[in-house]
Point group: C2
Chain length 286, copies 2
Amino acid sequence: MIKSFDELAWIDYLKSKVKTDKSVLTGIGDDCAVVSIGKEKFLLKSDMFIEGVHFELKKTTFLNIGKRAVARVLSDFAACAGLPIYIGASVAGPCRQDCKYLKEILAGMLFMAKKYKFSFIGGDTARAKKFFIDIWGMAKTEKPVLRSGAKTGDLIFITGRLGKRDFHRSFEPRIKEARFLTRNFKINSMIDISDGLIIDLYRLAKASRKGALVLLDKVPVTKSPADLYRGEDYELIFTVDKREKRLQKLKELFYPIGEITAKNRGYKAKTYKSLSKIKVKGYRHF
Amino acid sequence: MIKSFDELAWIDYLKSKVKTDKSVLTGIGDDCAVVSIGKEKFLLKSDMFIEGVHFELKKTTFLNIGKRAVARVLSDFAACAGLPIYIGASVAGPCRQDCKYLKEILAGMLFMAKKYKFSFIGGDTARAKKFFIDIWGMAKTEKPVLRSGAKTGDLIFITGRLGKRDFHRSFEPRIKEARFLTRNFKINSMIDISDGLIIDLYRLAKASRKGALVLLDKVPVTKSPADLYRGEDYELIFTVDKREKRLQKLKELFYPIGEITAKNRGYKAKTYKSLSKIKVKGYRHF
């Protein structure tokens, strides 16, 4: 999302303007659109991956650009509890060396197609000065989960340790974990960590019109507290009712890191020693 | 498609690399992907609309950018004989004036949603120096038609007059016409005129591994022969077997403009006076 305007106001604006067919169960403004076709539910979604915004050519390879571009959408689908089935890509870029890079980007995408068992179904290519990739696609879902469903008193979990930098490079969106969670528990809300735990939990709380209390000492970070602010961990944040019967099981498998609070309680961080307001770094505009 | 490399070789390359699920009836490399869900068939498609490549900010309005970006995909769906149901958009651009332009682009897209009765289901936004729009979506289809199905001896038709410049501005992709055609006739191949009759008919012939003979005197142009090379007419080119029983009806409603020939006959133009090879202007690289 664009960072210099009010994201929630924009979403409210969108929702007020857009009228959709009754087959659209969840439309514009949420993480994924949810549609019903026949007796099944599907998610639809797109996500951009832009040179100079999301990646720098000098710091990566075309193969990894293809993998990461797709991993981002898969992670979004995971957060909505979807299993990707069809993925397409629009790729624009400068046509250096006979557009050889296209084959490498494609190879990265097809690596992901094989690993995550979706069909890569095409898209569009064009010439542009900078690389611009848009990945779009469709996922099956049994019980879609959105970021906006958190309830006051929900426990907040994350699916894995933050800051595993080598791990990042293996691009493993939490599709299986999301499926396990939604099949076995009542998950009230979920979001993937695309820009960092702190900002993405903030987004979840905001979208749910709630506050949140993060128990900083409980967050499993690998290296330093900076991991709290780092993106592309591909872990999921999810919330469940604290009266959930098999809470113990969840606590064994995942990391409880806090609690959803009433909106007027704000967004706070607690350590064994202190309680403080969280400053959502770099995202003060919305 | 990128113009400086061999488009057909790229498509062959893609087809050799990509393996898809059996629900994918037509995959990468064709105009639209065709998938079966339950008992129905759907088309999936994306199309980019880039500042400096497809449009210039000085020559248009944000409202029209929204309309045209969507019209291009609707025209693609029409060419595959699809009825659009869900459309999404990824929009990147510089955030001038509080991103006010986003509302105008959205208004253009929603104008099209109302007119063509699809649900606008969301997408992604990001900041970039130039405007970059990717429209993606899903259409229903009864009998998908591709550009690659032309047969030697097929008659070539176009759905309307070329070069109606005022008409262009009303952005009317030929969705109804395509539906009428595929419901009432056996259409062997179809393509929309996105870059001009000459280049797009060439693409249809090439994709079908055929030649074509265009009867230039029969092509209904509004102003001048330059209309043959002009894009965004949103008319369709289609081919039917010349033994089609109700050929007369087709000739009354649409314009017969030539014939599909064997590949070794090449791509030729005929007038009452002459027969010549067609030079596919500006697209000599593939």
